[in-house]
């Protein structure tokens, strides 16, 4: 069975540009969460979606937005990129609405470099 898949795996952008990251959850999982992991730090929660609705939002600026599609895949958008947005962006899926029912299953991440 396929795990959580993320694309692209690596990308380089310049300041001020916009980026879209994509995530496909494990089949049957209805909840998707996004985390940002800066080098040397633990993952920081950005968003959680369940059944296409936002269920949680972390302490990130409005430049960050996300959505979930009817097939439960998700996109994370970041506008007006800053150097500090350089990080590994992780997507995690779970079956339940809370996002923490059982364990979160993480993808391999999308590594974003902003120059």
């Amino acid at each position: 069975d396929a795990g959580v898949t993320q694309s692209p795996t690596h990308l380089i952008k310049t300041r001020g540009q916009q980026v879209t990251l994509r995530c496909s959850p494990i089949s049957g999982h209805k909840s998707v969460s996004w985390y940002q992991q800066v080098l040397g730090q633990g993952p920081q929660f950005i968003f959680q979606y369940y059944e296409k609705e936002e269920r949680g939002r972390g302490n990130f600026p409005d430049r960050f937005s996300a959505r979930q599609f009817p097939n439960y895949s998700s996109e994370l958008n970041v506008n007006a990129l800053l150097l500090g947005d350089s990080a590994l962006y992780l997507c995690a899926s779970s079956f339940g609405a809370s996002g923490i029912t059982g364990e979160l299953f993480f993808g391999e991440g999308s590594r974003l470099t902003v120059l």
């Binding site: 993952p43 959680q48 949680g56 996002g99 923490i100 993480f106 993808g107 391999e108």
Partner: protein
């Protein structure tokens, strides 16, 4: 201050030695999760602990939860090079809040 403190930050052990990593929460724990991460890759789920005194093992890795101390420990017995990586603890403080992670403990295993 960090909500979840992990110690040590990094650890170098000789192959075959035992080691312990600790994770302490400043808030009441609802659930405590341990993950392993290879450099630049996703997180691999190891174990989840919810009840005080609970102890779980998988192969040579054992995790315990001390609810009174709001602390968990991860113990690796007879470490192997395959154990190398960063170990992250994640905590939930209620049934509907996202996981909060510590900064991780980087483990190196040398021959």
């Amino acid at each position: 201050s960090q909500e979840l403190e992990q110690s040590p930050q990094s650890l170098i052990v000789q192959e075959g030695k035992n080691l312990t990593i600790n994770c302490t929460s400043s808030k009441t724990l609802y659930g405590l999760y341990w993950y392993k991460q290879k450099y630049g890759e996703g997180l691999i789920f190891l174990m989840m602990l919810q009840k005080g005194g609970e102890e779980k093992s998988h192969e040579k890795i054992t995790a315990k939860l001390d609810e009174k101390k709001q602390q968990s420990s991860l113990h690796i017995t007879a470490s192997q090079p395959s154990h190398a990586g960063t170990y992250l603890c994640g905590a939930s403080h209620s049934g509907n809040t996202p996981l909060v992670f510590g900064k991780g403990t980087r483990l190196s295993v040398i021959a």
